[in-house]
Symmetry: C2
Subunit: 154 residues, 2 copies
DNA sequence: CGAATAGGGTTGCATTATGAAACCAATTTG
DNA sequence: CAAATTGGTTTCATAATGCAACCCTATTCG
């Protein structure tokens, strides 16, 4: 039957996955972050079917992750550019990429090489930090959100 | 035709999405982080079909994100627990959750409430940082990885 | 100008994944 | 022992995916 949707889930991770949680959407966002803007370039770089790319781009536009901008003088040529909401996925993409590099390194050992434009130095691993800036593991935090509350009270 | 796979992609994000990039896997990891360990609990909390849950759990075990542990005395009762690789997805999940809370807040305004167990203080937003610990936006970094190299030299 | 090409998109169709429910075997619980 | 739990497989209808083939509108090339 229908793939389950999470539009009205009370879990924000589920709602987030509803927008960028399929195979292609996050890769499209990734390539947009690398500078890709044109339909044809997305298609060639990702090796994605055109109808699926159409579908994903329009959904990303609907969800305000991308916006569609006329690029040609007379219309009929467009660019898809990240919105602030889309750019805000930067930590997600970088964290996922670092995880992939760490646990599923490429055969050739190719790693993420993101550098501070100002200093040329590599960036740090993305981590969860407390209010003092100290890195925290999952064991160092407590969850006091709706899910936990539901489990305790229900 | 077949859903496209990225096992041997030279992009680590694609390889990462191959392991946790479907609708359910990351939600399973999320609930595992909240403490869920049993098949039935995952099923009830996620509202997932049993066959799909079987499939996802075994794939996550194959990919060493979870490990399957005998919980009953005589077998036939199991727990699925996060490995170090699985726990290492913590920043990804938290970043995604914060993004969801920021841009698609729940109708009731429910937010992520993760706190430092030691101090009780809320955690910081996950961000990308340079070697000095300063937060960086996507405009502050340069990408010097394989994809960019391929675009420059190709 | 006319033809070819490129960009963006839609349509058909075969293949695959998904979800609900039924069914199963082993193990607890009462 | 009977009934319920747990973890899992099977069956089947439906939805999503990928490929190829078209379509339409510019733009470029001869």
């Amino acid at each position: 039957m229908a793939r389950k949707r999470f539009d009205d889930s009370n879990c924000s991770v589920a709602r987030a996955l509803n927008e960028v949680g399929d195979w292609w959407s996050l890769l499209i966002v990734l390539h947009a972050m690398y500078g890709t803007r044109r339909f044809v370039d997305f298609q060639q770089q990702l090796g994605i079917a055109k109808n699926i790319l159409c579908d994903r781009l329009s959904k990303l536009v609907d969800n305000e992750v991308l916006r569609k901008v006329e690029a040609g003088e007379h219309g009929s040529r467009f660019e898809y550019r990240l919105t602030e909401k889309g750019r805000d996925l930067f930590p997600v993409v970088v964290a996922l990429r670092q995880w992939g590099d760490k646990w599923n390194p490429a055969p050739d050992g190719e790693q993420l090489d993101l550098r501070d434009r100002a200093t040329g130095q590599p960036i740090q691993p993305v981590s969860v930090r407390n209010s003092d800036g100290e890195p925290l593991t999952i064991r160092d935090v407590l969850v006091a959100d709706d899910l936990k509350a539901a489990k305790n009270t229900g």
